[in-house]
């Protein structure tokens, strides 16, 4: 027995070791000799050669033992093979050993031999594969393994749990394995979730789709015109997991990027439903063009643009009336923030989001890549899959945050105090007290102080209801696959009259015409209707609370004609501001495998956008018009309305060749060459009329009595871009990676001599962990160092800037052509040189993963509209003058804190810091890139040697606290007689530049020192909890509502912040005493630290166990609850530190203009699949 066991050990020492056939035999021979020698020692006992046996259903082992006992022969065999043998019935009398053995092994998968008349060796029958000591699987199974995008996966190991036999997929993802019905095949590959597949029917082939494990080196990353594995990547690419965002009620994908990727800063502009987010990837540098990244949605480039069509139905914004910014922007500003270019895309259709950051990754997009590229790929069907229907529904509420404003009693007391002080000052300075408003206040005039106590904010705020339903069907046969979806989203805004609704979806169809030819069609569509606020929030904040909203006859009460004061918010809300957007992204692609390694792909795609805008200001509301020196209210002349429409078509024709060559296992080359032709055309039409018979029904343009303006042009803008590009990736020994990318772009936007721009880039990466000295370090999975450098550009600028143009006008009712633009044929590409250094690591069996990045971006020749000498008769000429640098560090760390079977806790942290510096702007500071020489126009400033995003305003001098300060101040500022004739203790102390000029300059910075996000994912059994915290540190905001409450400038209401003003009883305050007609101006005092940590979103979901789901005839089911903006930690006094008044600009945007209140949202939803 000892010997048998010994032999067993020798034969299969590790139990599982699988050895090649020949080797096994050799070992068996050797063991046989050893055994023989051993047996000699066991030797010379006499045994009978006659065997008598009678056994029923006996295991072979029992039979062998009996034979051994009777004959003295030793048996050598492997226990395992014996276990598989059948039990036997045997009855022999005085038979020879050989005869008995023949009976024993009859119909057994075993054979035997006798060595030296002493030892019987039992082994599997010769005709059976001797690899495994198991019975042969009855059939050959063929299969195909792909990733979730349908790309074949190479090197997936497949293991039959029953037979313990394994194999790997080949280069096309195919495999062959033996298995019987009910066998379980286990599929595994690093970076993907393991899959166990039970063979349910005999024969045939099947497909397996492997889902990417949440993180991993082998995850596929989408790069420009292709995909690659993360470990093969040389560039800086961040991927956002759609798993983490799918249950959060974000309406558009840009919002969903918040806090998810290092180097990507996302600031929600305001709380408009479906509104715009401000996204900057590693800072922005284009002063004239946009700084949003380029979005590639299913291969179709989509650029962010402001589609608002300027029209006559504009309203004054009382909030910005307190700042220097243009005030007639209640409507245009709301459209700018409330209309999202990505609003037509349904998040549930998204399969993957990859963000290309460095030049090596973006250079393939050449002149469009300087602001980074976000590649969004939507879902596709699966081949050989029965149709699957997935449905998702959620509903929830949004609640607004509310500003605190004075109630009627506080309002009366504040105004009265201000007027009383003013009267006293008139008396002190020996003037006749004539101020009409102050007199009205002191006389308790009913037009100023009504007897109501109206909470205007309550009248216009509401809890919004939102719901979303989407269904998707996907599936596929052998040669084709499809995915189609339809989604409906409706969100009521928290301001009355504002909402967002969308019908969107997609149709995707892949067909394999032949084994080499594939035709892929895709259509993403979205129909979005936005009812956009016209700034009623600002109106309501400043509306006089002592007045009632309605007249006795039920009409809207008119609450103010004063310059800059607010109008009745309910009256304003009764206007119309609607935008309808239709987006179609369609493409037809043909892929042909010319050779095994050489693929050709041709795509025709189109990005079609149709935008309609309807505006109406009722007769009882005043419109805002720009006057020569600012803005002013004007009669809407019986109602002013406008209807506008714009259409843009961006068509692409692209051809690419991909050559994927493996010269040897150590040397792989991937070359992509392509050409692309883009043609953009847009047209618009807009008409405005005034004088409508009825404000509610007959307010269509056709009902207008007076035409105000008609404009239109078709095409209004057209441009073309011809590009050639090449990318080569070379991998040597799996550890040295090289990428070269080059693109040339010829754009119609530049003069023929400067038409072509070249954008080369190169990158190297070294997978340190593959080197010998690290290969055996167990806790290191991967360490990769990357370096890249390259040039990218921007061309998101106007057409024909290089030509001297005449535009049509009309004088005396006849046509005129007027020189309008001075051409500069030297205008050329803005180009950005970016250098990037990165470190990727994965440690402790992928428990800790991370990326560290360092970059520098220098944009040279950024375009600026420079004002030539006015005697040139032209306002601007475009010059490539500005030079701007962005530098930054990024850090992304992910770790599995707990990784047990039933509980997992994963943390992902990213932190980024970006510092910009204006290296050259050819002269002094400016605010508006379209009017280079106008300063002091806004709240932002661009200054050489300083970062972008500076806030601009007066320096805050504080409050005069005593007589000495007052005397000194008067002495230093003799012109106080004009500016502050009543200056006294408690008043503002201006900081002076000279005796005549108040000092102004940078008073804050709107960019953060660092920002980022923390995602915590907890999984406990079937529960899943995802919480996203976002943070930003060091950024500041100019809080306009605070500026407004520095003083009582008019009969408008103000924030309760005014209650803490300087007075005899409150001498510590740094807010001036109340003096009617002396309001605040934006100065440093109203710039606040807007650092924050926010619980941006949290989602709890429960996946129903499969068995339970199957019982109710569902394939899968889950329920979830989700909330956004649940709490924040911040010192910022306003409602929300995460706002931007101008999401497009790289210069401005750092103002909290209280445009649309931030909301908290809660939803509950169901998701199930059939």
């Amino acid at each position: 027995m000892f010997l048998m066991t010994l032999c067993n050990r020798l034969l299969l020492p590790a139990g599982k070791r699988r050895l090649p056939l020949t080797k096994t035999l050799l070992i068996m021979k050797l063991t046989a000799i050893l055994l023989f020698l051993a047996c000699l020692h066991a030797g010379a006992r006499g045994y009978s050669q006659q065997i008598t046996l009678s056994l029923k259903n006996a295991p072979l082992e029992q039979v062998f033992k009996e034979i051994q006992r009777q004959s003295g022969y030793n048996f050598v065999y492997n226990n395992r093979i014996i276990q598989n043998a059948k039990n036997i019935d045997i009855a022999v009398k005085a038979a020879t050993v050989e005869d008995v053995l023949v009976l024993c092994f009859k119909n057994q998968p075993l054979t035997w031999s006798i060595i030296d008349n002493k030892t019987i060796v039992v082994k599997p029958a010769a005709h059976q594969p001797a690899l495994e000591d198991s019975p042969p699987p009855p059939m050959e199974i063929h299969g195909h393994v792909t990733d979730s995008k349908g790309a074949p996966l190479t090197g997936v190991s497949i293991f039959n749990k029953k037979t313990r036999k394994g194999t790997n997929t080949d280069g096309q993802g195919n495999f062959t394995i033996h298995a019987s019905v009910d066998d379980i095949l286990s599929f595994s590959i690093v970076g993907y979730k393991n899959i166990d597949h039970k063979i349910t029917s005999a024969g045939g082939s099947f497909s397996i789709v492997m889902e990417i494990a949440v993180t991993g080196l082998n995850e596929m990353v989408v790069i420009g015109y292709g995909t690659t594995r993360r470990r093969d990547l040389t560039g800086s690419v961040a991927s956002v997991s759609t798993e983490e965002i799918k249950d959060v009620p974000f309406t558009s994908v840009d919002q969903a990027l918040t806090g998810k990727a290092a180097g990507v800063q996302v600031v929600q502009a305001d709380g408009s439903p479906g509104g715009m987010a401000r996204i900057r990837i590693r800072g922005g540098a284009s002063l004239l063009g946009t700084n949003d990244p380029l979005y590639i949605i299913d291969g179709v480039p989509v650029t962010i643009q402001n589609r608002y069509v300027q029209n006559a139905a504009e309203i004054m914004n009382p909030v910005e009336g307190f700042a220097a910014d243009p005030q007639n922007n209640s409507v245009s500003g709301s459209f700018e923030r409330g209309l999202n270019s990505l609003g037509g895309l349904n998040i549930n259709d998204i399969e993957s989001i990859d963000i290309l950051k460095d030049a090596s990754a973006t250079a393939i997009y050449g002149s469009k890549g300087a602001n980074g590229v976000v590649i969004i790929t939507t879902k596709k069907g699966k081949t050989n899959q029965k149709p699957v229907l997935e449905a998702n529904y959620y509903a929830g509420t949004t609640t607004p945050l509310k500003e605190k404003v004075l109630n009627a009693a506080q309002f009366k007391s504040v105004l009265t105090e201000a007027a009383t002080n003013l009267k006293a000052e008139y008396a002190r300075t020996g003037r006749n007290f004539t101020n009409p408003d102050a007199l009205k206040i002191l006389n308790n005039d009913p037009s100023v102080f009504g007897d109501a106590n109206t909470d205007w904010l309550n009248l216009i705020l509401r809890n919004g209801f939102s719901q979303n339903a989407d269904i998707a069907v996907r599936g596929g046969g052998t040669g084709s696959r499809y995915y189609t979806s339809l989604a409906y989203t409706k969100q009521n805004g928290v301001l009355i009259g504002s909402d967002f609704s969308r019908i969107s979806g997609k149709i995707s169809l892949d067909n394999e015409i032949t084994s080499r030819l594939k035709v892929v069609t895709n259509l993403d569509y979205g129909f979005v209707t936005n009812n956009i606020t016209n700034g009623i929030y600002g109106q309501a904040m400043y509306a006089n609370p002592t007045l009632s909203p309605y007249n006795t006859d039920g009409t809207y009460r008119f609450i103010g004609t004063q310059y800059g004061t607010s109008q009745n918010p309910l009256a304003v809300a009764s206007g119309i501001n609607r935008a309808r957007t239709v987006t179609l992204l369609g493409s037809l692609a043909m892929e042909y495998d010319i050779l095994k390694e050489l693929k050709f792909r041709t795509v025709v795609s189109v990005n079609y956008n149709n935008y309609g805008q309807l505006n109406y200001v009722p007769s009882y509301v005043q419109i805002g018009i720009p006057t020569t020196y600012g803005s002013g209210p004007a009669s809407s002349n019986g109602g002013t309305g406008s209807q506008s429409t714009s259409t843009s078509t961006d068509a692409f024709f692209e051809n690419t060749l991909t050559w994927d060559k493996e010269f040897s296992p150590n040397s792989r080359l991937n070359v992509l060459a392509g050409t692309s032709w883009e043609k953009y055309k847009s047209s618009f039409f807009s008409a405005a009329g005034s004088g409508y018979p009825d404000d509610d029904f007959l307010n269509n343009l056709s009902a207008a009595a007076v035409p105000v303006a008609v404009q239109g042009s078709d095409p209004n803008s057209q441009n073309a871009l011809l590009s050639f590009y090449l990318r080569a990736n070379y991998t040597f020994k799996d550890r040295y990676l090289f990428t070269f990318t080059g693109r040339s772009d010829a754009s119609s936007k530049f003069a023929p001599t400067n038409q072509v721009g070249y954008f080369p880039s190169g990158a190297i990466a070294w997978r340190l962990s593959e080197e010998k000295f690290l290969k055996d370090v167990k806790w290191i999975d991967e360490i990769k160092i990357r370096a890249s450098a390259g040039k990218t550009g921007t061309q998101n600028i106007g057409d024909h800037l290089y030509r001297t143009l005449y535009i049509p006008g009309a004088y005396a009712g006849t046509n005129a052509l007027v020189p309008s633009q001075l051409g500069n044929d030297k205008v050329k590409w803005e180009s950005t040189l970016q250098k990037d250094l990165g470190l990727d690591f994965s440690l402790f069996k992928s428990r800790l993963r991370g990326t560290f990045g360092l970059y520098e971006k220098i944009t040279d020749g950024a375009l600026l509209n420079v004002t030539p000498a006015p005697s040139s008769s032209y306002n601007t000429v475009v010059l490539n003058v500005a030079k701007i640098r962005n530098r930054g560090v990024e850090f992304d760390l992910r770790g599995d804190v707990v990784r047990t079977k039933s509980f997992q806790w994963n943390i992902a942290v990213n932190v980024s810091a970006n510092v910009s510096k204006v290296l050259n702007v050819e002269g002094g500071p400016f605010s508006n890139p379209n009017d280079r020489d106008a300063l002091n126009l806004g709240n932002s400033i661009v200054q050489e040697g300083q970062p972008l995003g500076l806030l601009y305003g007066y320096y805050a001098g504080g409050v005069i606290k005593d007589q000495k300060q007052l005397d000194d101040y008067k002495a230093a500022f003799p012109y106080y007689i004009y500016f502050q004739p009543f200056v006294n203790i408690g008043d503002e102390m201006s900081v002076l530049d000279s005796v005549t000029i108040l000092k102004s300059g940078p008073i804050g910075k709107s960019y953060p020192k660092y920002y980022g996000g923390i995602t915590n994912t907890f999984s406990f059994k079937n529960f899943n909890l995802i919480a996203l915290l976002t943070f930003s540190h060091g950024n500041q905001l100019l809080y306009l509502n605070d500026v407004a409450s520095l003083g009582v400038g008019s009969l408008s209401n103000v924030s309760t912040r005014i209650l803490d003003h300087y007075s005899a009883t409150n001498t510590n305050s740094n807010r001036p005493r109340l003096l009617y007609q002396y309001g605040g101006a934006p100065d440093g005092r109203s710039v606040f630290d807007a650092s924050y940590i926010k619980l941006k979103s949290v989602t709890l979901s429960y996946d129903m166990p499969k068995s339970m789901a199957e019982k109710i005839k569902l394939r899968s089911a889950s329920i979830y609850v989700s909330g956004t903006n649940l709490f924040k930690i911040t010192h910022y006094p306003g409602l929300d530190p995460e706002v931007s008044d101008d999401p497009f600009s790289v210069i401005g945007g750092g103002v909290d203009a209280s445009t649309y209140p931030t909301t908290k949202a809660f939803v509950a939803g169901l998701r199930f699949g059939f």
Partner: protein, 469 residues
């Protein structure tokens, strides 16, 4: 089948290449490019209309294209002569010497050059246009009007920004003789004499070529003669007054114009249809800029001095008076002569009345018979509704009469095209100081070169007495 995709590729690539060149250099669809603007008779007329468009100063105001003549011609003279006050004055006085930048300094400067450049564009375009594309008569007519517009632009630059009163001065106009390109923006100033000569040459071409009859918002040979009269009376050199007398007489007798029997009718009833208008500015439809600037948001208010001057004058009822702003609610002294709603916002560059007054002044200045001058003055005043001529009758000397002429210029041509101001400056420096006490130095006769011009044009020299940069 195997090679089909390759063929598709080749065909599509070559097809793309062909269409590329065309599209990459496609001309804009909503604008014309320099070089293809003037192609024939019609397009020459349209380009010329563009120069008038610039003269009118059309820009978008309140989303409506609006003429801007009040800011570029009407306000400056009235303001500097003290008959108009600015609400955007910084309170430090309106003395141009210490205060760089009444808000018209830059707009006027820019607008003058816009007119000059548009006219240069027409002149250049015509020069490049082959003879067979346009009849000679049309070519000359268009050229004449373009020369008039260029002269008018340069004239204003001379009068407001150059030492026009000193023909030996270096501080003349920076004359723009060529269409602007990025290469010729930076230029130095010409002398005053060169400026006069160049402007006169343009005017003479306009007198020779411009049509004798034209719509009243387009230039004629008569408008050119009127401009010449203005220029010469300000130069005041030897023989200039005689020329002024003959030019104005010519216009009065041969021009086909006639004085409006009731002055108010021009502003409130007839507008550009009045027989008295030599050159007016046609308003754009629906514009409200003048209404806003003078009444609604009074950027400009009539000065008390103006109200005083109009005391006991029938025009006090409609030239300037107390009006409440519908938006501010304040009641202020406003310029009211442009409040007609039915006419739209017409501006008047040259009226026959001015020719009468110029002739009267030239007679008085050149020692001619005062009675003739008085007759001319009284004719004008009669049409304005004045019945009390005692002041005119009592003017015994030429100097006395000139003062009366000046008063009538202010009352009659108030806020039209700067006549108030230049009429004042034609007095001796001592008289000017008495009449306008804020003027203490001849520096104040003219405005500074705008700061932005100095910043951008290194070759241009600031006027004496003003900060260089």
């Amino acid at each position: 089948m195997k090679k089909l995709p390759i063929y598709i590729l080749l065909v599509s690539l070559s097809g793309a290449q062909l269409s590329c060149k065309k599209d990459l250099n496609a001309l804009p669809s909503n604008a014309k490019v320099e070089g293809n603007v003037i192609l024939d008779q019609k397009s020459a007329q349209i380009a010329l209309n563009g120069a008038y468009y610039q003269l009118a100063g059309v820009y978008i105001y309140g989303n409506v294209p609006s003429t801007h003549f009040e800011n570029t011609h009407e306000n400056a003279g009235a303001f500097m002569s003290g008959y108009l006050v600015s609400n955007f004055d910084d309170g430090l006085g309106n003395n141009t010497a210490t205060y760089e930048g009444p808000n018209f300094v830059l707009p006027m400067w820019t607008n003058c050059y816009q007119v000059v450049n548009a006219a240069n564009g027409v002149i250049k375009g015509l020069a490049e246009l082959p003879a067979d594309k346009i009849p000679d008569t049309t070519r000359n007519r268009v050229l004449g009007e373009a020369h008039f517009l260029r002269a008018y632009g340069h004239y204003n630059l001379l009068m407001y920004y150059s030492q026009f009163f000193d023909t030996t001065s270096q501080y003349g106009v920076m004359l723009r003789k060529e269409f602007v390109t990025t290469g010729n923006i930076v230029q130095a100033r010409n002398t005053v004499k060169e400026s006069y000569d160049y402007i006169l040459a343009d005017i003479d071409s306009a007198i020779a070529n411009a049509p004798t009859a034209n719509a009243s918002y387009y230039a004629t040979t008569w408008a050119a003669k009127a401009l010449k009269a203005r220029l010469l009376i300000n130069r005041g050199g030897a023989g200039d007054f005689a020329q002024v007398i003959s030019l104005t007489k010519d216009i009065i007798t041969n021009g086909g114009f006639s004085l409006e029997a009731n002055l108010k009718d021009i502003f409130f009833q007839k507008g550009l249809a009045s027989k008295e208008v030599i050159l007016g500015i046609a308003p754009e439809p629906n514009q409200i800029i003048k209404q806003d600037d003078y009444i609604n948001y009074p950027e400009w208010n009539a000065a008390q001095q103006m109200a005083d001057l109009l005391q006991s004058d029938p025009r006090s009822a409609w030239v300037a008076g107390m009006v409440a702003s519908p938006y501010y609610g304040d009641i202020t002294l406003c310029v009211t002569k442009y409040t007609s709603e039915q006419l739209g916002e017409i501006s008047y560059a040259f009226r026959l009345t001015e020719m009468y007054l110029l002739e009267a002044e030239a007679i008085a200045r050149s020692g001619g018979p005062l009675a003739d001058a008085k007759t001319l003055l009284k004719t004008v005043m009669t049409n304005a509704g004045v019945t009390d001529f005692s002041a005119v009758d009592n003017a015994a000397t030429a100097d006395d009469l000139l003062l009366e002429i000046n008063k009538e210029v202010v009352r009659n041509l108030y806020c039209e095209d700067g006549a108030e101001w230049f009429s004042l400056l034609r007095f001796t420096f001592d008289q000017v100081k008495t009449m306008r006490p804020t003027i203490t130095d001849k520096i104040q006769y003219i405005m500074p070169i705008p700061k932005t011009e100095l910043n951008k044009n290194g070759s241009i020299k600031q006027n004496p007495g003003y900060p260089a940069i």
